[in-house]
Symmetry: C3
Subunit: 156 residues, 3 copies
């Protein structure tokens, strides 16, 4: 209802390290190329027929709708991961589903968990055929305070 | 400031069960008929003179402003509830107030708690006369992972 | 991407006390003069060249993008604080950074922590020169349930 339906999307991810949780998260956003924008977290639906595009430089300060997974950790040496997956339905008039996940450890389990959540949501719960699942992750070994971030960004 | 002031609203609620928290929450949104949209959580004010309408099929993928209560639980057999209440002021130039609540147990206490929070916010804190309080709840007995959701959706 | 880029901003803060956390938070928003609006929380960037204005009466029920820190506490007698700081870059084509913080105790440490996070984010992480850091706090001694709130509100 807010403005027009997003028609494009891209996947991005990043990691950051700093002296505080907010600064680490901000550094992860910069690493993911969305750091100078105002993120608005959505509950995670891909509009029907939205097309994937390459990440591009978003207008600084603009308000950007997206779905994301993130994790901030304060334990130097810890490995942290965040993933996001988006299911593209066979039927272009159906919406797709975005799922996110984060964990201590590498991204393998995390990204597969997102993909499996997309399968359950689209195939089991909605009875939709999936054409493809796209996913992306970030992994980071904490130095001081670390943050990981993985997102599906919705664009005009 | 975002776009025009919402002029209509509806109440809705739902419950879902799945193998993960995100999938259960997604199933609850589908049950509440807002599942294929991008929810944007608001801090909970009903614009002045907004009129109640019947829930309708929202455009898939659209960004939908709303206020909601929700609860996700991982304990099979547990009963969980979420409620939301909205106070309509006597004076149509005043804003209304939306309050949300969730708990383990049935919805009776939960929904009454929301209604009481609306009374405190409108009568005690704002000194406004209330014309009517509308409320809705969802209750669910968890099978695997369960979710309940109750919302006031703001519409154009 | 949501509508036009905000061109103005103001800082505000407030505190409230009530019988529930939601009512206390709502009272703090009213005290900060943003209480009858629908707040949409952003990830905290000041658009380039945005100008500070005096807080003004926002349209009731409108959707208001902002970055904020808040704390709700249930311990009568406790002192709680929330702060927010925004860094204005020397270069008017660069975005500024907003950071928020809250804690038990007075606002001195809290507000300085926000300012330091702005310095780290702008100078260390982005390599930007800061022209000025503006900050604001709220402090409150809890009576029943207390809430504090400090925000940078983005305006058209």
């Amino acid at each position: 209802m807010f403005g027009p339906l997003p028609r494009h999307f891209f996947l991005t991810s990043g990691a950051g390290d700093a002296t505080t949780g907010l600064n680490a998260f901000d550094a992860a956003l910069l690493d993911a190329k969305v750091g100078n924008t105002n993120l608005i977290k959505l509950s995670s639906i891909l509009p029907p027929a939205a097309e994937e595009i390459e990440p591009y430089l978003l207008l600084q300060g603009s308000m950007v709708p997206l779905a994301y997974g993130e994790l901030v950790a304060y334990e130097p040496g810890a490995v942290i991961s965040a993933s996001v997956a988006v299911g593209i339905p066979e039927d272009p008039t159906s919406a797709g589903l975005i799922m996110e996940c984060s964990r201590f450890g590498d991204a393998t389990i995390c990204e597969e968990a997102c993909r499996e959540m997309v399968r359950e949501g689209m195939e089991v719960i909605r009875g939709l055929k999936i054409r493809e699942i796209k996913s992306i992750s970030a992994t980071h070994t904490v130095k001081r305070v670390g943050a990981v971030f993985a997102a599906v960004v919705l664009c005009p």
